[in-house]
Symmetry: C2
Subunit: 184 residues, 2 copies
């Protein structure tokens, strides 16, 4: 078997805590050298983030408070998948909920695993374009502020320390590559 | 107060689970509109990732199995800070433990928050250069394989879907910008 010297096998999984968001498990695993260890992690339904390209060429970022880090972060709009949902169903719903736009087209820029040490979260990142304004419709415990910026300004923010959120740094840098390739 | 319309305040914190890795809390919070909600998250000691620039100009990636996502991932070497430790103390220790190199210089490329939805993890990303080989010394439950690649190859892998780990995508794209600016 390929990668036998790296792969760990599940021997037993123990549910530890299931809350509104977190679904913590502790598994007993067989290591590649046949000894045993434990792995702790949360299960996650997956998520999608959008790089919304406005009609005037700017991209729409948002500012929102993130309680775990106790900071207002600059981010791409994003949302979790409902159980069994495809990211292309989630994307238009979350885009409209968070920033009040509909997109004519979603283009997959790539996929990321944000937290491989302790979460199975997988995230799709899309360029959202041909946008038309509707109205946003936030969840009752969600508060955010729109922050439209030009693409060069977004790239500067993704490389000078202004933005530290990973999906946002990656989404902006991937969008820049995608759009500059298209422009050639 | 700036951002009063966004900031959430802690009313009470409840420790839920403390394991080998995870330290789960559920907090009762006051929302900007004065209603209440709960937030679940893990506390994390922080981490540092290194982009190791080998004497031949390649960068040293590693392949390692990540149990939560059940995949062999291509990553930068990285490690967690010991309590109270500065990332510049962690970086040389983890670099030598994981890939068996000492660096003459660590240059901070930037900082990320990998998982703002449910973790306070903060990560520093450094370029490690002037490398000299020693011997690696992995933790007893750590298994990995070295994967040296050229910088253009690493950039390709960080943009074509081969690499999905966030610190690795960002570290490679930041290192490329830093080194191409230097080269001008």
């Amino acid at each position: 078997m390929k990668d036998k010297h790296l792969i760990e096998k599940c021997l037993e999984t123990e549910p530890i805590f299931k809350g509104r968001l977190l679904d913590i498990h502790r598994d007993r695993v067989r290591l590649p050298n046949d000894s045993e260890s434990t792995r702790e992690y949360t299960r996650h339904p997956g998520a999608v983030a959008m790089v919304p390209l406005l009609p005037d060429g700017r991209i729409m970022l948002i500012r929102q408070f993130r309680y775990p880090v106790r900071k207002v972060m600059i981010e791409l709009p994003a949302g979790k998948l409902d159980p069994g949902e495809d990211y292309l169903t989630t994307a238009p719903r979350e885009l409209e909920e968070e920033i009040g736009y509909r997109a004519g087209e979603f283009i997959l820029l790539g996929e990321i695993d944000p937290c491989v040490g302790y979460s199975d979260e997988h995230m799709w990142i899309c360029l959202a374009r041909d946008l038309t304004a509707t109205t946003n419709n936030l969840d009752r415990d969600e508060f955010l502020e729109a922050l439209p910026v030009s693409l060069p300004e977004a790239v500067r923010m993704a490389t000078d320390g202004t933005i530290t959120d990973v999906k946002t740094i990656i989404g902006i840098l991937w969008a820049e590559r995608y759009l500059s390739r298209k422009a050639r």
